[in-house]
């Protein structure tokens, strides 16, 4: 069978169950000592890639991320879920990156590794940007199938069912292509202990981000300010309809 390599881009994010707090200064969220994990949509993308390999449609799954050294842990989890090898495009401690920077790094890796398919999560749960896959496809000038809820490979092409506002749309894209995974694509597996052990021995390559053309300096997308929503005020019981209307008018609601 012809070699069909899948490149999966993943992101290390604050775990979905954590109550996120704004750090003093209002310019970032608190990340020190906070639980991080693999972005749920990236997990779904990775699961799809591993299933393609298990079904014999793909021959190798390479997982990659742009991040600081801490992202190595995330890559090991991805390897435990079934990826064959991993690449860390390493940023310096404290450096930040946005969708454009990630897309530049993944594009450089794609040129190096020559995958037929790039799978990403549709968005990260920390910034909800939903841009990386689209920017990457533009840089590489490859077709894109975003919000994928079903993927099937054919010789030289991939059929993608997309979740769009009006319902479901099915596209056939020539390979190589970029796909982003939506929630209903699959249910990702849990890493088991034997696979976690095996993952420790799988290759993990570290490449400085600058070598992949990621520009130094602040990301293109600048975060201006963060603030928590106002605390919830208690409700109030009123005695009559007139009183209710009065209060609503007073609050400017009617």
């Amino acid at each position: 069978m012809a070699a069909l390599r899948v490149l999966v881009g993943v992101k290390r994010v604050i775990d979905f169950a954590v109550k996120v707090r704004v750090a003093p200064g209002g310019a970032a969220v608190q990340t020190q000592g906070v639980k991080h994990s693999l972005n749920p949509f990236c997990e779904i993308a990775l699961e799809e890639a591993v299933r393609l390999r298990e079904a014999g449609a793909a021959t190798e799954v390479v997982v990659a991320t742009l991040g600081t050294k801490a992202s190595q842990e995330t890559l090991r989890t991805a390897l435990a879920m079934g990826a064959d090898r991993a690449v860390l495009a390493e940023l310096a401690e404290g450096a930040a990156a946005g969708p454009r920077e990630v897309a530049v790094a993944l594009a450089a890796l794609a040129r190096r590794l020559q995958p037929q398919l790039v799978l990403l999560g549709k968005q990260a749960i920390d910034d909800d940007c939903n841009q990386t896959g689209q920017i990457l496809a533009a840089i590489l000038d490859w077709p894109q199938g975003t919000f994928a809820s079903r993927v099937s490979l054919e010789p030289g092409a991939v059929q993608v069912q997309r979740e769009v506002d009006g319902g479901l749309e099915t596209l056939r894209l020539r390979l190589p292509a970029v796909l982003t995974a939506d929630l209903r694509l699959n249910e990702p597996r849990y890493a088991t202990l034997p696979n976690i052990m095996k993952a420790k021995k799988k290759p993990l390559e570290v490449v400085p981000a600058a070598d992949l053309g990621v520009p130094a300096g602040p990301p293109r997308l600048r975060l201006l300010q963060l603030q928590e929503p106002p605390p919830r005020a208690g409700g109030e019981k009123v005695e009559s309809v007139e009183s209710l209307l009065g209060k609503l008018r007073h609050a400017g609601r009617i």
Binding site: D15, A80, E187, Y190, A191, T192, L193, P194, N195
Partner: protein, 500 residues
């Protein structure tokens, strides 16, 4: 109405000082025990102020809606609201609040998720409800020791999500997404108990706040050896104590490795007896089955229709196997042979995650599927557990009893443990049917006891099974329990009216 709350017993049960802060006379006491707590005066304002001083005013509530919400669980027992609800944020606050209630002789009721099935949180004597859900730390996760420490606000699903990526899981899975400390308090079990055990063997240590506010670590502070022979087993004493001995403010749990491979299948049988006999044989063949769940034909039909699955209307077993790829293949073969020998249908194995989840959620919706059989009615679940050897007889007799009593009671069960539930669906407004239900459950409880089993395999005693507990343990057993209760809670402040 099936109201199983009874008036307080006279005689030996009242040996210790049970006068509470408002010193009721005997008729008021009886009224209170029946849940008529509105006849009691509310808590004195200075006491409520003292509660606020410990946890802050936003964490104390005497609002009616809040109290009513905390006065019932998922059982049929009528709501018995506490006089106040408090939300401690740390164990030190739990201790201070307990000491305060102890000084003023105010009853205390621990509250986790309110998902119990035996009225365990109903404040039948009023008092203060300690809602522990804001204490939700997960700490001391050790991947090498397979242990983790959780506070009452952590539910079993939240813990397993937290463990994602570690290769470990906590397998005890009662139907609800219950608080783990609450599960420890009721000695909960679930579909995986046949292979992984119930709560009791999976709790290594408990941090308990005693009724007077003292802090007790049942296996010693900061310890979680996998086995110990050091003194009386206090951990096991507090597991299943249903809030009557102290507050379980932290539990150290035993984790298990996730299975490498899992396979699930459904088998239909010509009759209830064949399905149950098949279960017995699977266990005797020492197949390390992970889950073996039974649905009688009424339940199978109800579940199938509720979840749109199209199962045959027959006694059914839902089976799950865990293991490595190779051992799974061996187990599957053994299982197929045994099922065929008992006249079961041929097996189609589901191995993908989505398929397996679909089958199990059909089973987990059993409660709702049963209620859908008679819309507008209420449900009550029985919970007997008998030795495996007696299971076929007890199940068949129970089914005959259901038919003879004209009751709607689809059966579902963790037959691997000898435990099954009749989900009785009845019209609570019809006193005659309620009477038949009550009589049926008494007969069922006694049938289980006569077969050498227990009246409650996993739900607990709570309000409704105290009389059966007496029959099950005998006078000496019950007296011993009362001595222990008197030693730890001499003023009967911890969840009074439950268990004993």
């Amino acid at each position: 109405m099936v109201n199983a709350v009874t008036a307080p017993r006279q005689g030996t049960a009242r040996e210790h000082d049970q006068r509470h802060w408002w010193e009721p006379g005997p008729s008021a006491r009886a009224a209170v025990a029946c849940g008529w707590s509105h006849l009691k005066p509310p808590l004195p304002p200075d006491f409520v102020q003292a509660l606020r001083a410990v946890v802050g005013a936003p964490n104390v509530s005497t609002a009616t809606a809040v109290r009513e919400q905390h006065g019932h669980d998922e059982s049929m027992h009528p709501c018995a609201p506490p006089d106040a609800v408090v939300w401690p944020q740390a164990v030190g606050q739990v201790q201070e609040l307990a000491a305060l209630c102890h000084r003023r002789r105010v009853p205390m009721v621990p509250f986790g998720t309110g998902t119990g099935l035996e009225g365990g949180v109903n404040a039948v004597q009023g008092g203060v409800c300690f809602d522990l859900s804001r204490m939700d730390a997960i700490a001391e996760l050790s991947l090498e020791d397979f242990s983790v420490t959780v506070e009452p606000g952590v539910t079993r699903k939240a813990l397993n999500k937290h463990l994602r990526g570690t290769g470990l899981w906590f397998p005890v899975d009662p139907g609800a997404d219950a608080s783990l400390c609450g599960m420890a308090a009721t000695g909960a079990s679930g579909t995986n108990a046949v292979r992984y055990g119930t709560m009791r063997p999976n709790v290594l240590n408990l941090r308990v706040v005693l009724p007077d506010g003292r802090l007790l670590h049942t296996a010693g502070p900061g310890r979680q050896p996998r086995k110990r022979a050091a003194g009386y087993d206090l951990t096991s004493l507090f597991v299943g104590s249903e809030g009557t001995l102290g507050f379980l403010t932290q539990a150290t749990l035993r984790l298990h490795p996730l299975p490498e491979a899992t396979a699930v299948t459904i088998a239909s049988f010509p009759g209830v007896g064949a399905a149950v006999a098949c279960t017995v044989q699977v266990l005797q063949a020492a197949v390390p089955v992970a889950r073996i769940e039974f649905l009688d034909e009424v339940m199978a039909d109800a579940c199938s229709r509720f979840s749109g699955m199209g199962l045959p209307v027959a006694a059914t077993l839902l089976l799950e196997l865990h293991g490595s790829r190779r051992s799974l293949a061996e187990q599957q073969q053994q299982m197929e042979e045994i099922v065929q020998q008992n006249g079961g249908s041929s097996l189609a194995w589901a191995e993908g995650l989505e398929e397996r989840e679909k089958l199990w959620s059909m089973r987990h919706n059993a409660w709702y599927a049963a209620l859908a059989l008679r819309p507008g009615c209420q449900g009550y679940s029985t919970d007997v557990c008998v030795p495996i050897s007696r299971l076929p007889d007890v199940v068949v007799e129970t089914k005959q009893d259901l038919q003879a009593s004209s009751l709607t009671g689809p059966m579902v069960g963790h037959v691997g443990d000898g435990n099954f539930h009749c989900i009785l669906v009845f019209n609570s407004q019809d006193p005659e049917e309620a009477q038949r239900i009550h009589a049926f459950t008494q007969r069922l409880g006694r049938r289980a006891l006569a077969a050498g089993g227990t009246c409650t395999g996993e739900h607990g005693v709570g309000l409704g099974k105290r009389a059966l507990l007496q029959e099950e343990l005998g006078q000496e057993g019950l007296d011993t329990l009362r001595s222990i209760k008197a030693a730890l809670d001499p003023h009967n402040l911890m969840n009074p009216g439950k268990v004993l």
